[in-house]
Symmetry: C2
Subunit: 355 residues, 2 copies
DNA sequence: TTGTAAGCGTTATCAC
DNA sequence: GTGATAACGCTTACAA
């Protein structure tokens, strides 16, 4: 009854060989599977002889432990969940890479979810990740409420580190860029060029970076004794189209600005497009600076003066904080990624491309 | 398989520390855990009354099944492994997003690994993914050998679909862009402008896209009765710096080209940088076209004429093929993403930005 | 229609 | 030192 399929009748194709399990290794080394486990994991005590035997058997069988079984048993997955609003954005892609390499160094895997800028999907992503018992969470929130967040991740006390977009008073830490300082650098430089009517293109209200940059702008003006004119502040989604529309509106003002601070690459490009269409000379008629240094910034016309920062560092810093929190226990750590002013031509400086 | 446990079913007050297990649900519904399993999974037959009781108990407890335990038991993880050479590149980030959304639609999760353009890391990434018993693999290879590939994924017969960079004769399918057609479009357009000495900036030899684009270039010239001059072909890594150096070299030729086809955004930007530094007028002195349409292409000076394609579609197409192969069994499916010529100014056309 | 029991591949807690 | 044995949370023959 057993042998209904004699050897000769086996299919020509080689049956997929079953992966060796710990039990197989144990058998081959003539020990119990608990001993084999100890030998391979290094935990517990056992004689060097048996350890060697087990290790050898494992090597011969090409044994690879099952992370799945291990996770189920140990209640640790060595997996970190990452949620971002849009992974195809260069910024988040860079943070992802930074996080990934930092995590890899510590032996963690990454499970990625994209919230597509929808709160509902963000919540679903978090729930999925929690279901998978990720050991920790890296989250650039797209606007989940504190209550919803608590409801989903609160019960599991899975540590969470926020980056870029932060949910206040939650999680084990947060990482952002020096938004205020960056804007101050930009505004300061423009003021140095003699500008007094400086416009701001910022993102929608309610976002961490949007808010910090706007506040930074107002502070930068105030500390320099300049008035804050609400008309010069335009909040819109971070897209080229919105940047263009906002710039158009600013340019049609009776008392138009002489300089403009764009808080993202896209907004700066929108400004560029608007000026080009209207025949406005940059930086002659309007000086432009940007919070963010795209890799093609030097090749734009005019080459973009901006504030640069290391997006990958945001990810790796967040990952480091998370890993720290994983064995440290609690507390709250805050990281800020440094910014740097990169002076080129769009601000009015007489910069020329090197070489 | 789909999300039968919407997050709305979470308990209002997450006071429960330990997550409810199936056994808890069973207890509360006064049935055995196998019955509870059947009720929740919809498999097997059971009375409507008990089913309702179980479902209600599950809802009351805020029960969420453990994918870990389920995977271990079912030998299916509903997780797909994705390996790319560099996730911070906009191209791969876009493919990732495409893949992610297609997979999500079918109830799969994504586990991401970055090979950092190193064969060793690529192999390690694959091994890790196989260890995790991913149900399938999406791979843009960085150059792993067929033998090594077989060694790592062969034994498990985990289906694999290649995209962008392809390992021939392996896996269940592959997806690339219409490289030959794209180059033909570009070369054809330049020839239409009267150019006969057309240079090519391509990537390093040994890459799928690099090779296909170079072959496409030679074919495009030949079919138009133009000679192929090896001096006009420059193979170098896809970086701005390399593009610049290659352009410099071409420009110093005794018989310099009058037009140039860059096979990537970076190479085109390098060409731009070289021309700007040398005071070469684009497109007057040199016409430039590019395989790839960066989102800022219209804002460069001159606005870039190029061949555009949907990078996200590569990822989603690859994911679709993989998912198909997951239940279809074997066979090999090949996908090609369409390209489109976007005419602007760098080729010599009299294009003006809309509006 | 439902329950019992045997796993999936590990590790931890005991005895011996 | 080493080996049973019992989990981890789930699915699925097989029995009842």
């Amino acid at each position: 009854l057993r042998n209904r399929f004699p050897i000769a009748a086996l299919p020509a194709a080689p049956a997929a060989k079953r992966r060796a399990t710990l039990a197989d290794v144990a058998d081959r080394a003539h020990v119990s599977s608990s001993t084999a486990s100890r030998a391979l994991s290094g935990r517990g005590t056992l004689s060097p002889a048996t350890r060697d035997a087990v290790v050898e058997a494992a090597a011969e069988l090409g044994y690879r432990p099952s992370p799945l079984a291990r996770s189920l048993r140990m209640r640790r997955t060595h997996t970190i969940g990452l949620v971002v609003p849009d992974i195809s954005s260069p910024f988040y892609a860079a943070t992802l890479r930074g996080a990934q390499s930092a995590l890899e160094r510590s032996g963690y895997r990454l499970m990625l979810m994209d919230s597509a800028q929808e709160v509902g999907r963000e919540a679903a992503a978090l729930a999925t990740l929690i279901d998978h018992q990720v050991d920790g969470l890296l989250l650039a929130t797209t606007g989940i409420s504190a209550d919803r967040f608590d409801e989903i991740v609160g019960g599991s006390d899975t540590p969470c580190v926020f980056f870029d977009e932060i949910l206040p008073d939650r999680g084990r830490g947060s990482v952002g860029v020096e938004n205020a300082r960056g804007i101050d650098l930009l505004v300061g430089h423009l003021v140095g060029h003699g500008h007094r009517r400086i416009a701001l293109l910022t993102g929608p209200a309610g976002y961490t970076s949007s808010g910090e940059r706007r506040a930074g702008y107002e502070l930068a003006l105030t500390t320099r004794g300049l008035p804050v004119d609400p008309e010069l502040i335009r909040a819109a989604p971070w897209s080229i189209e919105d940047g263009r529309a906002s710039t158009d509106a600013l340019l049609e003002l009776a008392d138009a600005p002489t300089a403009l601070v764009a808080t993202s690459t896209e907004l700066a490009l929108g400004c560029l497009a608007a000026c080009r269409a209207r025949g406005i000379d940059l930086p002659g008629d309007l000086a432009l600076v940007c919070f963010d240094d795209p890799y093609f910034g030097a090749l734009l016309e005019p080459a973009l003066t901006c504030v640069a920062y290391d997006a990958a560092a945001i990810g790796s810093e967040a990952a480091s904080i998370l890993i720290g929190s994983l064995d440290d226990g609690d507390g709250y750590r805050e990281g800020r990624i440094d910014v740097e002013l990169v002076v080129r031509r769009s601000c009015g400086c007489a910069w020329r491309e090197p070489q």
